[in-house]
Amino acid sequence: MSDLLDDLIQDAPPEAPTPIKMRVQETIILRVVGKAVIPFILLFALYVQFHGDYGPGGGFQAGVIFAAGLILHALIFGLDALRRKVPMIVVELGIAFGALLYGGVGVVSMLMGGEFLHYGVLDGHDAAHGQHLGILLVELGVGITVAFVMVAIFYSFAGRSNR
């Protein structure tokens, strides 16, 4: 049992510096529960992302939930642990990529003979399929941008307090 616990918390050294004031030490329960819960939060974000056509949700909500999962990781295991997994350069590129994906769908639909963001032309045979594809891609763009924007803002706030 204690081996299992050690395994669960091994990559979080007990003296991991948490620069944020919500300092968490001796928090084995937080770490174990966090490790168990965070994957499901991220999975739920993906569900919200790709199920937005059929139920409530969409790119914005999915992005926020995904970022919440990452930020929870930072709160439990420390900011540096998250920075190692999701470096700032990835965040910055992700922010730009999401918006470019959205705009890119618009440009492609123009190149294929429609108006900007007219998804119907994306599929030459079936306009409804084109709409589906377009909505899927732009929602993905929104989700990627929002997720990384939230992480970037969190980094900006939380990263300052250790100086």
Partner: protein
């Protein structure tokens, strides 16, 4: 209690709790407690929006208001003190301004159509078209997503750009670049100590 009466009863309880929380947030001096109460307030607002059948809005409120905002408040608290200082100005003036604004806003709502009124202008313009034709034109079951991503694709693109701009501002002002320089310094330190 029948289902008809349940809705208004739950809404009344939610409203009551929100008012209590709002007053408490304004009165409380501990910023940490205020941040937590803000989160609860957002959660109640999300419950209220669910009662009004605006599940997409409620979802956003719960994720942004109760989730991310609380974390950002706490992050900001890490940079400042955790107790609010006593205000310099007279609090009576503030109360007067807030009360007047509130009364004017309440007066403004008198002109608005009743809640759920099917003849309200918002239900008579493009909404019927979206509800009736979106399954043929766009073909996805969630009309909210149809409107946001397809009919109003320009607006959503604009909103995405706004979110992107917010991050650019935060990174430039609060030091994404500086933070990266720090990392580089750390790396250099580590290399030096290794050597």
């Amino acid at each position: 209690m029948g289902e008809q009466a349940m809705g208004p009863a739950i809404e009344a309880i939610l409203f009551l709790l929100m008012i209590v929380l709002a007053v408490q947030i304004a009165r409380i001096r501990s910023l940490f407690a205020a941040a937590m109460l803000f989160g609860i307030f957002s959660l109640l607002a999300a419950g209220m929006q669910t009662m009004m059948d605006a599940v997409d809005v409620a979802f956003t409120e719960a994720a942004v208001g109760a989730g991310i905002s609380t974390v950002l408040f706490l992050g900001a608290l890490g940079l400042t003190t955790s107790t609010e200082t006593r205000p310099l100005h007279h609090r009576v003036t503030g109360l007067l301004v807030v009360t007047t604004t509130g009364l004017l806003l309440a007066y403004g709502t008198l002109d608005m159509p009743a809640y759920g009124d099917p003849d309200a202008p918002i239900h008579r313009h493009v909404a019927p078209h979206y509800l009736v034709d979106s399954s043929d034109e766009v073909g996805i079951p969630n009309v909210v997503t149809s409107v946001l991503a397809s009919y109003r694709g320009y607006d959503t693109f604009g909103e995405t750009t706004v979110v992107l701009t917010a991050a650019v501002g935060a990174i430039l002002l609060l030091g994404g670049v500086l933070a990266r320089d720090d990392e580089r310094d750390d790396d250099n330190d580590r290399e030096e100590s290794d050597a």
